[in-house]
């Protein structure tokens, strides 16, 4: 049995829904005209045609076309060693397709990645969160209208928001100091309050600048 035979069988099960198989470089592609019926098609392909391995799901952004997005499913059967590609379109206004996690559990992370990178939501997905970018990232970076250089965003806070056990001690660098000298724990004056110290150091620095010593040593003066 070849992939083309299997494609014809699948097409016969869904008259009017699936296009004629297209062959390119020995690979067979079917286009499903309605994304809503994708889980149904996939379930039948798995149950009756032996496509038990979902290799991959991915998405393509055809920016400027309508419908804008295309979902691509790569199926494979360990019984007959044939591969099949299913494609379906998703419009930008809708931006949503039903999940196939009920058919293959491996679809879980693939769909999360598509949501993360392209912004297509999967209805019925058990845990649709961003996977590669962080929670709260505002853009979908693989869309064609997202620039290669990226856009400025707020990076989330570091994992530890409370003070670390030795913070403020003599061996720990102060996070967020003005420069490396201000962050260096060994030049800190230990008994002074941190805020006051910083303000004083800055004042001293300013006075020096006013006297024309702008390239002089940093806030700490060496003892004479």
């Amino acid at each position: 049995m070849t992939a083309l035979d299997l494609a014809q069988q699948l097409k016969a099960q869904f008259p009017g829904l699936i296009s004629e198989p297209v062959e390119f470089r020995g690979e067979v592609t079917l286009k499903v005209s309605d994304a809503e019926r994708m889980p149904e098609v996939c379930a039948l392909a798995k149950r009756e045609l032996g496509f038990d391995y979902l290799v991959d799901i991915t998405s393509v952004d055809n920016y400027g076309d309508d419908p804008r997005f295309m979902l691509v499913y790569h199926l494979y059967g360990y019984g007959h060693h044939c591969a099949l590609r299913l494609k379906t379109d998703v419009s930008e206004e809708k931006g949503e397709a039903p999940t196939v996690t009920g058919v293959w559990r491996t679809a879980d992370w693939h769909e999360r990645e598509i949501y993360d990178m392209m912004g297509i939501r999967f209805r019925g997905h058990p845990d649709l969160r961003r996977i590669l970018m962080w929670e709260g990232y505002p853009y979908f970076p693989l869309r064609k209208d997202f620039p290669l250089a990226g856009k400025p965003t707020d990076v989330p806070d570091v994992a530890f928001t409370e003070a670390a056990p030795l913070a403020g001690g003599p061996f720990v660098t102060i996070a967020g100091g003005k420069d490396t000298i201000a962050r260096e724990p060994r030049v800190r004056i230990p008994d002074a309050d941190a805020l006051e110290t910083n303000a004083r150091l800055e004042r001293r620095h300013d006075i020096k600048e006013a006297h024309g010593h702008s390239h002089g040593p940093g806030p700490i003066e060496p003892k004479r």
Binding site: V55, V72, H74, R105, W109
Partner: protein, 423 residues
């Protein structure tokens, strides 16, 4: 005085007494004594996570009740970069996917683009043989590291030192073959960046004879090692159906007893002319995955030996100036070659419109490239189907019900690379 009846005396050892629950105070229902669940964060910077995988584990005592893998700490946007580069320019980026087997990634990517161009069957024989040697050396290197680190994770330090000694020799071979030890960028679309240097085949044979000894030694360290076997056998069992359902590939899939190897099922290059076996496991536990890797190394040695014996002469590149850069002396003296060189460098190889998927049997599993082309020198969309990404998705199913200390054994047996997972 009469003999009393013999009776059993119940005497528990210290550990059993400690493990016993304290007697309930009178009148208290037992439900209120259930312990709180604890959330433990492992990684992203932890030696057992082999990179920057983060696991959020919910623990009931020492038993894991829920596991949530978090990935993406090494995301560099490789797929976005590919859309903005020519096909040739992207080759160095493939080194940084599975950075423990860059040669195999180079070959996989080149074959994918060549499939799109329709020249994958026209590659000169010498190029195909050298590519196979590259793939198998990469497999040995990757598995040596995988087994060595795995042994160290579960407490055997010596293996790591042995396997890294051998791995060093592979890096030396890579250096003399490609000019770089790690980031090789060796293949070109339609060929290779350079031919084997003189004497390389002999060096390679010498290495193969040495590595076989080392693999045997590693076996004696681990395969019947009581501690290693206790920590891996029956731990992290993945049944065949679940492995397929979660899309596992490579040694992790074969460890679960699925006899599927892309080199056998869909032979590319000259794999159909080579003799090698595909090892499979029976139970799908960590120990089986380890055994599969050990045997795959031996099979790779066998393949490289065959390739070196049969290595043909001749060119290493497709004789087409529109795909491969023409020789420099001709570029400088002839008009046509100069034009080809210029077009190739500035615009890239002109690919036809269409879409292809090529799956390659990488050391970690099926590395696939889906290329959607609208024509021209850059892909419209390039998707990297990385084996580590898919293999890790099973953790949320596999880790619960295991002890916390088994996490290290299970993670090590998966042999994943985050550079490839996060892309």
């Amino acid at each position: 005085m009469t003999m009393s009846e013999p009776r059993d005396i119940e005497f528990k050892d210290a550990a059993a007494r400690v493990a016993e629950p304290a007697p309930l105070p009178p009148g208290q229902p037992p439900g209120e004594l259930e312990g709180e669940k604890m959330v433990l964060n492992v990684g992203p910077s932890h030696p057992a996570t082999h990179g920057v995988l983060r696991l959020v584990l919910e623990l009931d005592g020492e038993i894991i009740t829920e596991a949530r893998p978090e990935v993406g700490y090494l995301h560099r946007g490789d797929e976005k970069i590919a859309e903005n580069f020519t096909y040739t320019q992207f080759i160095p980026y493939t080194d940084r996917l599975d950075y423990l087997a860059p040669l195999a990634n180079n070959v996989a990517y080149a074959l994918a683009v060549e499939k799109l161009l329709g020249i994958d069957l026209q590659l000169p024989p010498r190029c195909q043989y050298i590519r196979v040697i590259c793939c198998e050396l990469a497999r040995i290197s990757s598995h040596l590291l995988g087994v060595g680190c795995y042994a160290m994770d579960v407490g055997a330090m010596t293996v790591f030192l042995h396997t890294f000694t051998e791995r060093e020799k592979i890096h030396n071979l890579c250096e003399s073959l490609t000019g770089a030890r790690f980031t090789t960028a060796y293949t070109r679309i339609g060929g290779l960046s350079r031919d084997m240097p003189p004497g390389w085949a002999e060096q390679c044979r010498k290495f193969l004879n040495e590595v076989v000894v080392d693999i045997d030694e590693t076996e004696t360290f681990l395969t019947r090692n009581r501690i290693f076997v206790d920590r891996t056998q029956g731990v992290g069992v993945i049944p065949r159906e679940v492995a397929i359902d979660y899309g596992l590939s490579g040694p992790n899939l074969r460890g679960s007893g699925v006899e599927h190897d892309l080199r056998k099922a869909h032979p590319y290059l000259i794999y159909d002319q080579l003799k090698f076996d595909v090892p499979v496991g029976t139970t799908g536990d960590c120990y089986d995955r380890y055994l599969v890797r050990m045997e795959e190394m031996r099979q790779s040695v066998r393949i490289v030996h065959q390739c070196l014996d049969q290595l043909p002469g001749g060119p290493i590149n497709v004789p087409d100036g529109k795909i491969v850069l023409p020789p420099k002396d001709r570029v400088l003296t002839r008009m046509e070659e100069l034009i080809h060189h210029f077009i190739n460098v500035t615009q890239g190889v002109n690919a036809p419109p269409g879409e292809i998927y090529f799956g390659h049997e990488n050391p970690k599993g099926e590395l696939g490239f889906y290329i959607n082309s609208k024509g021209g020198g850059t892909p419209h969309r390039l998707k990297i189907r990385s084996p580590s990404f898919v293999n890790l998705s099973i953790l949320s199913w596999l880790l619960p019900r295991h002890m916390l200390s088994d996490v290290v054994a299970i993670l090590g047996s998966f042999d994943f690379v985050m550079g490839e997972c996060d892309r």
